[in-house]
Amino acid sequence: MATKLPKVPIVIVGLGWMGGVIAAELTKAGHKVVALERGKSRKTEDYFHVHDELRYSQRYDLMQDLSKETVTFRSNEKVRSLPMRTYGSFLLGDGIGGAGVHWNGQYHRFLPYDFEIYSKTVERYGKKKIPEGMIIQDWGITYDELDPYFTKFEAMAGISGEQETVEFIGKMSKPFPTPPMKKTPAMKLFEDATKSLGYKPYVIASANLSENYTNPDGISRGACQYCAFCERFGCEYGSKADPVVTVLPVAEKTGKLEVRTHANVTRVLHKDGKATGVVYVNTPTGEEFEQPADLVILASYVFSNVRLLLMSKLGKPYDPKSGTGVVGRNYAYQIVGGSSTAFFEEKEFNTFMGAGALGNSIDEFNGDNFDHSSLDFLHGGNIRLTQTGNRPIATNPTPKGTPSWGKDFKQKSIRYANRTLSVGIQGANMPFRHHYLDLDPVYKDIYGDPLIRLTYDFEDQDKKLVSYIAEKTKAIAEAMKPSFVETGNQISKYSIVPYQSTHNTGGVVMGKDPSTSTVNNYLQMWDADNVFVVGASAFAHNSGYNPTATIGALAYRAVEGILKYLEKGGPLA
């Protein structure tokens, strides 16, 4: 039996980027907040010995311990779902800061097209353009409405980027607060190559900080040192924006934030359309607590947000057969196929140096920036060359036909260790009726609760997008004048084995229609107005970009909604 604690006004579940932003803003506004985080606390000093590829990149030191909880996966409903026993396709964060600790810091606002994807697609191409089974929908908010929230996140994190933006992306009411990152020779090659093809390249905006920066909350951070250990690592300088070095100190300073670590929330309690609190396990002792609250904010990773709602029987679960219900629908991922690798016999690059968000990109083939009339797919992707720091265990490029071990492998992998550059994509992924999240009927976590189940595969849409973009990456790679280029122009089935991207989205989708969305455009639940569910779980599809910028904007949007709700209560939309 859970020990019942005294009621608190606001509980946040999960203290990553979303929970951090919301905690900072609500406490600054004078509200008391209790944050429940299942993992441990983290601080910059933890990363003094972080330049350890084996520990962090290969053994996933910062990630969720899968022995306790994982996800199950199947390609479609005919296949038996089985647990992801080891890490592969995506990496789940854990602890204070969540996935905001181990991200790269690449920052792209989603396109105006994204937020009105259904309307704009129908307007330009007609309804028939949308294939059977694809369930794209408008997000219930426009890019222009979101602009001020993007600006807030950018000011808080000190995003570094070009002051003038290309016409292919949404207009910014304020330029980025710090200038772009340095340009490496590899980035310059990409820049020259894309310009020679008539495109307009730009330096990818970065949360790594191009120069020292003090944000509006008075938080000062130092410039990125290009040490090459970002993705899967924490930043030992605090240069990479993460919740621990930006929003959490602000919340803590107010004295109004109470953080409880090792507090794993297992249920949201609710009655008559209102949440009454949450139940959590204090993991070191196994003791169960009930924490009553007036307002509950779910701010965990995509899978945990969806799972908690389903386990709590809050919101209508999605049923793929009838297409009704909402919690779990519109799962989407990131398409990363179609890249080209350029091999240079005559030149070596310092690709062992880098930063998580160091790169150059173009958006001519992203969103609806190009005519899809004669194409049988929608959307596209950001085409880019990034220099995130090649590490020797993970990066051993060899030309096609080279064996994966033995004399030839050794010679070629060493020969080309510093002689390749890749032109890749962040490809968009559209939702389909039969791609969704629900609770696994068999597999459980260590507390006996069902694991979340992912049903997902690549569609023709994705395969055609990849073949099309592959031609573009190939042309760009060739224009970089290497000795030869190799292109991966095909994807077949989605596999959970190789790492692809930790950009899982959807499941608690935002929108204007309660029959196709779980939360309104303030991230407030239709079915319980004192519950807000924030994160990439709100995405109705995934764009051709990294998601954090848009998640960040949605967090500030949710803050505004929560403050309104605290003032007058009731549904905000």
Binding site: T44, A417, V497
Partner: protein, 264 residues
Amino acid sequence: MADNNNNNINKGSKEQPQDTSRRNFMKYTGTALGGAVVGGLIGGVIGNSMKGKEKPESGVKPGTPEKTTKNFNEALMFLTQDQFQITEAAVERIFPEDDIGPGAKALGVAFFVDHQLAGAYGINARDYMQGPFYQADAEQGYQLGFKRHELFTMGLASMQEYSAKTYQKKFTELSGEEQDAVLTAFEKSDASLKGIPAGTFFSLLRQLTIEGVYADPLYSGNRNMDGWKMRSYPGNQMSYYDVIDKDEFQKIDPLSLHDHLNIG
């Protein structure tokens, strides 16, 4: 050849703010600094503190034997001596010694493998190992009910059996070509290897080999950072701020996490 890396460590800019986390960082590392503290300077100071203490050797040719003291880490935690010898022979075929430099054997990779199997990785400590276990589609990944250290020793025993059956010799007594043929049979899950997930075992063996060649030497492989030196990888460097935009390839003497240790 290389610049001493300490000269390459640079600051983000002239003035750098100091926040709480950085002050704690300084406190934690025991590095006393006054005045304005600079991100890059932390690295510089720490790097400098190692000067004269234990400078990385520069100009050492990869593979140069330089063993002067006993390395007490080079002992077995998990494998038997026989298993160790098979492992050493196998990893050497996967990453052989050649003109470029040492192979997996000279890099200590078999010790790395032994130590990994003895620890959290070998017992799948952070993997989901609850049943039920079923045969899976390839897209669903590893679905075996036994652990890496079990898979590994099972694989080694099977390699011995296969060698005996095919060549009437132990694996360690085979020629290099014959050893390659055995490894290839495992890599391709040869039909004669019934009852063992041969391909899965080979993937583990190959992966551990590459990791042992290139992981920080603290894990007992990559001896003397020679794995890194072969591919001009400089290991643990605090900052590339001033060289990140340079056209020329930067040859930098490698540093390990051992060089970074700054306690007492």
